[in-house]
Symmetry: C2
Subunit: 324 residues, 2 copies
Amino acid sequence: MKNIAGLMGFREDVRVLDATLRDGGLVNDFYFTDEFCKELYRTNIKAGVDYMEIGYKADKTMFDKDKFGKWKFCEEEDIVKVFGDFSNEIKLGIMADVGRCNYKQDIIKKSESMLDLIRVATYVNTMPAAIDMIEDAKNKGYETTCNIMAVSTAQEGDIKVALDMLGHSPVDCVYIVDSFGSLYPEQIARLADLYCEMGAKYGKKIGMHAHNNQQLAFANTIEAVGDGVDWLDATYAGMGRGAGNCSMENLLGFLRNPKYNLYPVIKFIEEHMVKLKEEGATWGYDLQYLMTGILNQHPRTAIAFTKENRKDYSAYYNELTTQD
Amino acid sequence: MKNIAGLMGFREDVRVLDATLRDGGLVNDFYFTDEFCKELYRTNIKAGVDYMEIGYKADKTMFDKDKFGKWKFCEEEDIVKVFGDFSNEIKLGIMADVGRCNYKQDIIKKSESMLDLIRVATYVNTMPAAIDMIEDAKNKGYETTCNIMAVSTAQEGDIKVALDMLGHSPVDCVYIVDSFGSLYPEQIARLADLYCEMGAKYGKKIGMHAHNNQQLAFANTIEAVGDGVDWLDATYAGMGRGAGNCSMENLLGFLRNPKYNLYPVIKFIEEHMVKLKEEGATWGYDLQYLMTGILNQHPRTAIAFTKENRKDYSAYYNELTTQD
């Protein structure tokens, strides 16, 4: 049992990262209005959020610029156009996927960019490529994180090797990523022990990125912070791929550091997130996401089920569990 | 950290109680069709559910029979009419509120009733009246539980006294009830320790009844079962007052005892629960419930907010936090 006194106190090292534009962008193909983005930035300042992840640096030779909003690519001129009026009160970050980012060219020097943080997303088996990207970003002057996706399907031995490689790399923070929303708090506790042990040995921070398939995104995030994990991802109204993420409003309602404020988050949801939903953006817990979560599968079939407006949950469950 | 091996194994003593008709009845004033109730019963058999709570034994001198469906009162003739064709494959229970149940008269002898379980709901301060009801039910031949509501607002010293009184009573099981959905898993762990200590001393089972205000109903339920709590309440699609309860589909997807089956639950939700929602029954996590949960308040104002179809979340938050 964790120390109950910890619920009233707080750890100064905790950082909250708003991933609404990035993980939420997967819901609406990154078509956020500039006004939405600016107001989100202003709200994050008021709420005390530490980092704001604004999108991906996707390879323009792989993805058609006409099929996505600007935050799929996060070009410097777009960043300046939307966030240039603000005086860097919040650190800005982007995600760069292994194998889907032309990083040597598209990630420019920190001294020439408004960005502060490069988050490298990788599976366990592409760790050498991830480390090359981390070193590249570090050399250019950025803070870096490594987000090891889909750990729920990785072998523990492989995770240990990956963590050891990251320990020897210049990365600043390593994330536990429950990509399929399939992990229970007990499993998060075990992973947090593993990651934090590496973090303590090599001087790395540990982060948590959760998905809400089993209605555990918030529970797993507070489990992690209780286990010594410092960087916490959340999104407004939980907006994110499929079942979505840990809700910012849940998280800031829990954290006790007085620098965090819930009220501006509520205001932003009322004025902006409710509208997004009404306009048709669809995310959040539903039965099809629970099923892929329980079965430890990628939610892509559940996302398709949602898009097709299917309601035959039991037939879908049969599809998911067919073994032949 | 809990033993991870426990996630794969299971405890034979765990019991699942379906509270859909009772807690869900608070959503639609207990107007369920007989067909719905019968199909729910059949589904519970297939799903391996152990107990089914079918409603309240409300005092007919206090509540108008014309304003509620039959499960507000659970008269024996109604129970027989709807469930009489089944051969007692699931134990049936009702809830009796302290001060709102004419129990000496309305609860008949077990030998003359289809009911098996009387659940006495009480606040800490009405414990002597609750124990009188428990003794009455026990003398009539029933299994009994005591559901101590709103523990999140009770003094720990008072809870200890109440638990000691219950230890000396003939009650079979004592429930941790997070009425306001305000407790975090660490707090559930602490309460579970307190309750289980009493349970071990006096030979009582401990139960968990959670609400989903902070999206923690399922997380708190699995926290509890990991701490030695045996009786677990859940409802289909989480149907229940306000933010609702721990979802049956979440819970059965987690429990490893092969007697529990998820598929029939999915089928029932597809065929019956989706329809209830489409017909206008409203429950489940939303921002107004999160706020009362965080603030440890009864959700009655949030339920009113919902009924009035209000969307001014920030104004509501100001109302909730006004101190004068």
